[in-house]
């Protein structure tokens, strides 16, 4: 614990902090046996590498004590985002009059399917894909969804429930010819209080 003032960047063994910092930045490679056996150098290397941890602590502390963003900051982002939705392809809907062409946006159908399955307790849908030539009436399509489920649920039973829900909504609201519904349980999350009864 010697107080070295002016030459605080030179160790008693003669190495400089700068040298050791470069050695550390190079991943301590190629290995320098002299440094690796010098207690002073090892001590300095230890302190140098702690600077990274301390930096991350500083940014975390900053983030924790940050003032709230100005009013409207959050909304400003979401307004912009809501104005730039991705509607996807156009899905045709049957109509008795052949001169009438009605379509529904793929994005709307995705939202419909996701919302329907989300109503199940402990289930949140991730990605929703409608695979196949959806722009052609009658063409077979596959619906592929991922989901996160509460960890106390039975994955197989949940997958069946999700499949049933989706099949039901597709049949009621679209003219898609569904060949298969694939459900991939991709993630689990902590169980939460029951969703509002609907």
């Amino acid at each position: 614990m010697t107080a070295s003032n002016a030459s605080s960047d030179v160790l008693d063994c003669g190495r400089t902090i700068q040298e050791l910092s470069e050695y550390l930045e190079a991943g301590r490679s190629p290995r320098d046996a002299e440094i690796e056996q010098c207690p002073e150098c090892l001590n300095a290397l230890e302190s140098l590498s702690r600077v990274s941890d301390l930096s991350r602590d500083l940014f975390a502390a900053d983030a924790a004590s940050l003032p709230e963003p100005s009013a409207g900051w959050f909304g400003g982002i979401l307004d912009q985002v809501a104005a730039e939705l991705r509607s996807g392809r156009d899905l045709p809907v049957r109509h008795p009059d052949p001169r009438v062409r009605i379509t529904v946006a793929e994005g709307a159908v995705r939202t419909l399917l996701r919302s329907a399955a989300d109503e199940l307790d402990g289930v949140f849908i991730g990605r929703t894909r409608i695979i196949g030539d959806v722009e052609e009436l009658g063409a077979p399509v596959t619906i592929d969804v991922t989901a996160s489920i509460a960890w106390d649920l039975d994955a197989r039973a949940v997958a069946d429930d999700v499949r049933r829900r989706i099949a039901d909504v597709v049949a009621r609201h679209t003219d898609l010819e569904v060949a298969a519904i694939d459900v991939t349980i991709e993630d689990v999350h902590a169980p939460q209080p029951r969703k509002d009864a609907s």
Partner: protein
């Protein structure tokens, strides 16, 4: 912070990966949860970079809009935090390059972590304050390089690309920054 939409509280339990998938499928509430979850670190880091919280908030706001547009290109939703930090870094560097031609930033007082709890916390806060001061004393190129590496987690080659310098310069600046910070923090031995 105001809840952006009803039901968003439920989404807080979900992983980044699931939230990103939902956001790609136009679920604005899922994106709102991503913003809520990751904006504090981004705002804090960019404020250090720009030395202005107001400017940082503008940059982070823009970064999230850019992120929304590019979200379908993000392969792995689990890495969204690093990805967002990279986007925000790029936006911040653009601001710095632009402002270099204009007036310098007004004086900025970096927040000093307050000691609210026991003594060992006060000691830790003193170290963080010393670190913050040492960071402020670094030459600008070293300071930026250090922030890109340690706050945003960018790799050497990414930093080299963003700052338009050779990788060897990045490595040298990091070594110099680390040495200066350590020497600048009293009582490191």
């Amino acid at each position: 912070m105001a809840e952006p939409e009803t039901g968003s509280r439920d989404l807080a339990a979900l992983s980044d990966r699931i939230l990103v998938e939902r956001a790609v499928d136009d679920d604005v509430a899922a994106f709102a949860e991503i913003v809520r979850r990751h904006s504090p670190l981004m705002r804090a880091y960019i404020a250090r970079m720009l030395r202005s919280q107001a400017d940082a908030d503008d940059v982070v706001q823009d970064a999230f809009v850019v992120a929304w547009r590019q979200l379908p290109t993000l392969r792995d939703g689990a890495s969204v935090k690093a990805w967002l930090l990279r986007i925000a870094s790029r936006e911040a560097l653009r601001v710095l390059r632009r402002s270099a031609k204009e007036t310098p930033f007004e004086d900025w007082e970096p927040s000093t972590p307050e000691s609210t709890r026991p003594e060992h916390v006060a000691e830790r806060n003193a170290r963080l304050t010393a670190l913050a001061a040492a960071l402020e004393r670094l030459p600008e190129a070293q300071r930026r390089t250090w922030l890109l590496r340690e706050a945003a987690g960018l790799g050497y080659s990414e930093i080299a690309e963003e700052l338009d310098v050779p990788v060897s310069t990045v490595r040298g600046n990091l070594a110099r920054a680390r040495a200066s910070i350590m020497i600048g923090m009293e009582g490191w031995r």
